[in-house]
Amino acid sequence: MDELGKVYQLIVPCFGHNMTFNLDAIAMTWIVFGVLIVFGFFATRNKSLLPGPVQVLGELFVSQLYGLTEDALDKEKAEKYAPLVCALFMFLLMSNWIGMIPHMHEPTKDLNTPLSLGLMGFVIAHYAGIKSKGFKAYVKEYFEPIFFMMPLNVIGELAKIVSISFRLFGNIMGGSIIILVVSYLTFSVLLPPFLNAFFVIFVGAIQAFVFTMLTVVYISVQVK
């Protein structure tokens, strides 16, 4: 119970400012990177027409997410953005599931991770929008339907970053708190495996998918 809300931080003074590093989140993110790189290595090592189990899994991820991107964007843009979408989904899925292992923490439990990913999606979506529509048409959209709606339209766009990142953060954080508290109340007997199955595996997979899907949709709304 004492673990609740404890964050290991490294604070480095730098020109009068304090730079804060959340060590848990950084370490766990690198572990997720490592797992994904190893997975990618084994999935593509012996490529053959009769694929091995790891290759099948890799192909499943890529083909499913590629199809999803193609549905939302057109074929040409899907080729450009599908690698990003695949990587995003696999990273989020691994990040959400890593909390199942004792003493591991989801990097997505730290608000900084979802927020930076949300910011990344926002920047990519708006870059894609400016590129496909041209800068003038892009700016003009903010002044619709009437010109004084501009500040509200801007806030509405910024609220998208908040909503996409807080959704992931709140779900993962909430799940891990519930598991921790119930494990504490029941002395870790019986209930925690079921809670892990629901909150970590099920909700984690759904939220990873929702985050990926929303990133694709934000791009597609800007492009069209």
Binding site: L152, G175, M213
Partner: protein, 324 residues
Amino acid sequence: MAYDIQTWIKVAAFTGAGLAMGLGAIGAAVGEGYTAAQANAAISRNTKATGEIFKSMLVGQAIAESASIFALVIAMILLFSNFTATSYVTVAAVFAAGLAMGFGAVGSGVGSGFPAGAACTGMARQPAMGGRLTTNMLIGSAVCQTPSIFALVTAFILLFSDFSMRPVSPTWAALLGAGFASGLGAIGSGIGGGVVAQNSCEGIARQPSAVTPVTNIMLLGQAVTQTPAILGLLVSFILIFKSFEPTNSLAPSMALLASGLCIGIGAIGPGIGEGIASSGGVKWVARNEAHVGDITRLMLVGMAVAESTAIYSLVIALVLVFVV
């Protein structure tokens, strides 16, 4: 009669626990009743599928109940923890935690009853799709719980953070406002998300071949429907973690409390409205699979317009926190 601080904290914990469980019991019960009614109708329509429908009703009701169980966990913690307080801020924090969880469980409870009911009806109509309907219902109901999970996160932060260093005068109102913001804010999104999931279950029963796009659009619609609840969560985080100047005047405190109420109440309507907007999208994707792209885009634009009133509330709430 002057009571000491320990008495006050007990008072806050007991009333908070009562409110958490009392309010938290409303939603799930309504949702479960709706599910049972739909299951009854479904069994009368197709008596051969009785066993399947009965199972699906029980599973759906069990998920609908989880919001109430969160409220029960908070109520138990409030009743059985020994809070040692040195400041009256903790009294407000404990009470606000109960308030947040109580209100927060209402919407998700009502909402997650809808997909379970629609899944039962759908099984009577299309018994061969039982497995996919159950999966879709489980996903829909689980995503419906998200607003109540947000309220739970706020309640836990209020319970387990140490506020004793903060000045009493504006902070008590900020914490109460935080409780209202994420508690009331979760109501609309919970109900709205349920309406979306209900229509997706109905759509799958009507057009089994459209199961993949319908589930995808449902997830998208539910996720966007949660935006008002997330704005409530954002305001409550600002109210909890921002440090305020100590003051003797009542006005700044009331501004903070009003800010929480503003976004909390203001998020109810947009949550339900976006749910209705998105349920139309989900429904028509099932009937007209060929035009998924157009329907989705229109649905998202419509939802964005329905959301604008939540954004007005957000603007006023932020003005109340930062300007007044």
